[in-house]
Symmetry: C2
Subunit: 177 residues, 2 copies
DNA sequence: TGAAAATACATTACACGTTATATAACATGT
DNA sequence: ACATGTTATATAACGTGTAATGTATTTTCA
């Protein structure tokens, strides 16, 4: 039973721990997305959401809005274009820029996501984080413990009583499964 | 000037946000490591720390201790072996297992890290997180804002000669370095 | 005891972030 | 107007996580 060195080291390994939790959350989110039959990656959603909120944006604006570098945005947007969800046209005044907008298919996916998928994800994450309090490290431990007890896909319903596993309140903190 | 969609979406994009913060923290941590002249990646440290704490461990035990999958651990340990920091020998009773231990070079690096590098990193991260409070989203925003004001490398309080001081006009009053 | 299952590690392919750099379009100064 | 610099995007190379699968070894049990 090896200990969790990243957790035990606290502030020293905070970067590794954030990445680890983020990857776990994205993987769990992906499960929820798949349960709705949507063929999209969790990391691609922020791009669609940004265009939905602000209208057509350039690649550089999207990179900044999503918080990644421009090459990463270029690749993700190319994938979304291959999926037929977005399309790029040259900007009117400046031929260097490409304005990216939603296709009809993309708009349909966003509309459905806003109605069904995103509320479901948000409910699950909110449930996971609802009882968190204390220091940052306390709350990170709470997230890890909570995910071990019930992954996000089991938290999409509103009532915690629906969970097949014990809830966080019934299990001592620090327990590993 | 584009908005930060990941931040604005809160719980919905929590996974993306955790990954983003983790990558930023690891990159900042890497800067501190480099300022000490150590040629090691931030993500490799937990492996050395785990062996240092528990003695020689198998690849599977290390993967569990660090919280990544076995192929990832195999690759990182191969890199550390190439650097001459660890070595693997077949386990005594079970020829399938490989026990990974520190070389003399690896032990020297760990000893030096425990004395100098790790305290410096921990000091920086602790400084970043010292004033955080409130909900998880509040604290995440605090981390992002804090990193924008002063990256980890400016929060170590040691090796100050390596850090160039920002001009007064770029930093809000009361900021600590 | 010997076939089948389980275990431990290696390998491959892929996802998705990064940095560095190339290229095309626009902006500027003499 | 034209050389030069800047900006927007594309491309390449790489880092490090994942899942899926291969292979050697050990364990199980009929």
């Amino acid at each position: 039973m090896a200990d969790d060195i990243v957790r035990d080291f606290g502030y020293l390994c905070l970067g590794s721990r954030f990445r680890r939790i983020g990857e776990r959350l994205q993987a769990d989110t992906q499960q929820i997305i798949q349960s709705f039959g949507a063929e999209i990656q969790a990391g691609q959603y922020p791009f669609l959401a940004a265009i939905d909120r602000s209208g057509p944006l350039t690649i550089g604006e999207l990179a900044e809005a999503v918080g990644i570098t421009q090459p990463g945005a270029t690749r993700t947007l190319a994938q979304l274009a291959d999926l037929g969800l977005v399309e790029a046209r040259a900007s009117d005044g400046d031929q260097r820029r490409k304005l990216v907008s939603l296709t009809d298919t993309g708009r349909a996916l966003v509309d459905r996501s806003k109605n069904e998928i995103w509320p479901s994800i948000e409910r699950a994450v909110r449930d996971l984080c609802s009882d968190l309090q204390g220091t940052l490290l306390d709350q990170l431990a709470g997230i890890e413990d909570g995910l071990a007890i019930a992954p996000l896909a089991r938290r999409t319903t509103k009532k915690a009583e629906d969970h097949q596993c014990p809830t966080a309140s019934t299990v001592p903190p620090g327990t590993r499964f």
